[in-house]
């Protein structure tokens, strides 16, 4: 129920944004010199003479039936465009969250187990850096250092032009598709392209994940059962990983879900810097061309995915935590 309400709210906001555009959508179709009669007719055809709430309901109906309108730039339905670019974003964000979890969780646990130490302080500063660095700037600096100077990774884009189109598109995920096709050259080339932007995204999720892991762990380490385990002579390693870490796995799922949703959003800036052909790049390109259908469509899709991930991680929390039932 509340989910449906939230979606309706999202639609209301995009509808509202579509209405406050200073460009008259009718003028965009007929041009400024059209006679009044033509203007009125087109206005009626586009349904803009109807009351606002009627227009809103027809907008909701359109969106629900998958009609997001045509993109002015690509001359294709916005939904088709979005389906085509979405896998690229999904691939980068997924790899990013894997990196973020793989590094962030251990960092948080170590920081908590050595509270107040230099390690703890260092991890805290790394975390705060994640909150204070512009993603696009870190992307540029990363390209400068790792691509231009050290030449460890490939440059912008998803794959070298040389390899482009060599493998059939099955899932749209370059790494998966190349493995399915059994083409390791393409796979490694795709890896060298994705590793830098995904690591940068991972760094931003790491900041939040490490911080939350640390605070959950501190909460557990202060509990009496931990003292009991220590008194019984359980090694510190086992106390931390076997006893204290177990109960925080469930709340961590929510944290990971939230940061995953955040990465889909964060990829907008990273994609622009890395010319990554994903939804973020599509959105910014549409912004420059004043292609409002595409802007609103991309906003809707990112917003919807964001809401769904939030709700799913909430639901998972309730299913997995026995106390919440």
């Amino acid at each position: 129920m509340t989910t449906a309400f939230t979606f309706l709210g999202l639609l209301a906001i995009t509808f509202f944004i579509g209405r406050v555009v200073p460009i008259d959508p009718v003028l965009a179709v007929v041009g400024d010199r059209a006679p009044q009669a033509v203007y009125e007719r087109v206005r009626e055809e586009m349904g803009l003479d109807r009351p606002l709430f009627v227009q809103f309901f027809s907008y909701v109906g359109d969106v629900l039936s998958g009609n997001f309108g045509m993109s002015v730039t690509t001359q294709r339905p916005v939904l088709d465009d979005l389906m085509q670019v979405f896998p690229a974003t999904l691939e980068m964000a997924t790899l990013g969250i894997i990196i973020g979890v793989a590094l962030g969780v251990p960092m948080g646990v170590i920081a908590a187990s050595r509270q107040g130490s230099l390690t703890d302080q260092a991890i805290r500063v790394v975390g705060l850096l994640g909150y204070s660095m512009p993603a696009f700037w870190l992307g540029l600096v990363g390209l400068l250092v790792f691509y231009a100077r050290l030449q460890w990774v490939a440059g912008p884009g998803r794959i070298d032009i040389f390899y482009d189109g060599l493998i059939p598109t099955a899932t749209g995920l370059m790494l998966v598709d190349s493995l399915v096709a059994g083409d390791l050259d393409v796979f490694w080339n795709a890896v060298s392209h994705i590793v830098l932007p995904a690591s940068i995204l991972g760094f931003f999720s790491l900041a939040y994940i490490a911080r939350m892991t640390r605070s959950f762990m501190l909460n557990q380490l202060g509990q009496e059962y931990v003292t009991t385990a220590r008194v019984k002579g359980v090694s510190e390693r086992a106390v931390i990983w076997r006893h204290a870490f177990r109960p925080i796995r469930v709340p961590l799922i929510t944290v990971v879900g939230l940061s995953y949703a955040g990465l889909l959003e964060g990829s907008v800036m990273i994609e622009t810097v890395f010319s990554w052909p994903g939804i973020g790049n599509y959105l910014t390109a549409a912004l420059f061309n004043a292609d409002m259908n595409a802007v609103l469509g991309a906003t809707l899709v990112i917003g919807a995915v964001f809401i769904v991930i939030n709700k799913v991680s909430d639901a998972l929390y309730r299913v997995l935590d026995p106390r919440a039932q």
């Binding site: 509340t2 309400f5 939230t6 709210g9 999202l10 209301a12 906001i13 995009t14 944004i17 579509g18 406050v20 555009v21 200073p22 705060l128 850096l129 909150y131 204070s132 660095m133 512009p134 993603a135 696009f136 700037w137 870190l138 540029l140 600096v141 390209l143 400068l144 231009a148 911080r211 640390r214 605070s215 501190l218 949703a261 955040g262 889909l264 959003e265 964060g266 907008v268 800036m269 622009t272 810097v273 959105l283 910014t284 912004l287 420059f288 004043a290 409002m292 802007v295 609103l296 991309a298 906003t299 990112i302 917003g303 964001f306 809401i307 939030n310």
Partner: protein
Amino acid sequence: MATTREWLLTESPASRLQARLGRSYRMLLALLRNPLAVLGAMIVLALVIIAIFAPFFATHSPYTVELTDRLQPPSKEFWLGTDELGRDIWSRLVFGARITLIIVVLVAAIAAPLGTIVGAVSGYLGGWADRILMGITDIFLSMPKLILALAFVAALGPGIENAVIAIAITSWPAYARIARAETLTIRNCEFIFAARLQGASAARIIVRHILPLCSSSVIIRVTLDMAGIILTAAGLGFLGLGAQPPLPEWGAMISRGRAFILDQWWVATMPGFAIVIVSLGFCFLGDGLRDVLDPKSGNSQ
């Protein structure tokens, strides 16, 4: 000096003013014990001073084009190098501090009071008003902020004012949530009942009694959010949707430097360092303030 200190720290203040000053003084002492918070406060203070007295800190004009000096590396003459139009990057950063400060102050001045009032009204009145206001708040909260801000700016048109409006629209809900939570804990306190029995209206109770008590949590949250506001504003600038050229906005400067990143690295990297330092300053200060003002929600202990 010692007597002033004693007067401030006394256990039995003689007046309301003395009690208030004493409380602020104790907080200041607690804040000074946190080295990161002091560093943060110094960075923020430096930003404010540099922004106000920009002409004194700038070594060149931020706008004068000098094509013979274009893309000079950092040197004694140009501390951080020059950009593609021969403008001194240090001077542009100094004047850019004004833009950054104006944006964060305006966003905070719009979003924080708006969110606090929505939250306080919602929490105090309860019932239908609460459900509707919090419903709207939750819708905004469950949406990606950056994307919404992008879409709003796309609709309103690029520019600083519209960037400020878009960021404010996406950041008020967090304050509404905090203010509502605070209001719920104090709405059934006896002093509120006393005020109500004396015939105070709901509006008066909210403005005079509830809002002042919400302010410290909201202030902490605003300080912590400053870094995010700076990053979003810089991001809009980077995409060309924020401040327009020739204004020396930091994000826009990075975007101009992008074309020269491989050979003239300083053009794009220097403004980024400015953003990182200032955001980090706000983060440190906010973290410290939270530990001092609101120890119960701090996650460091």
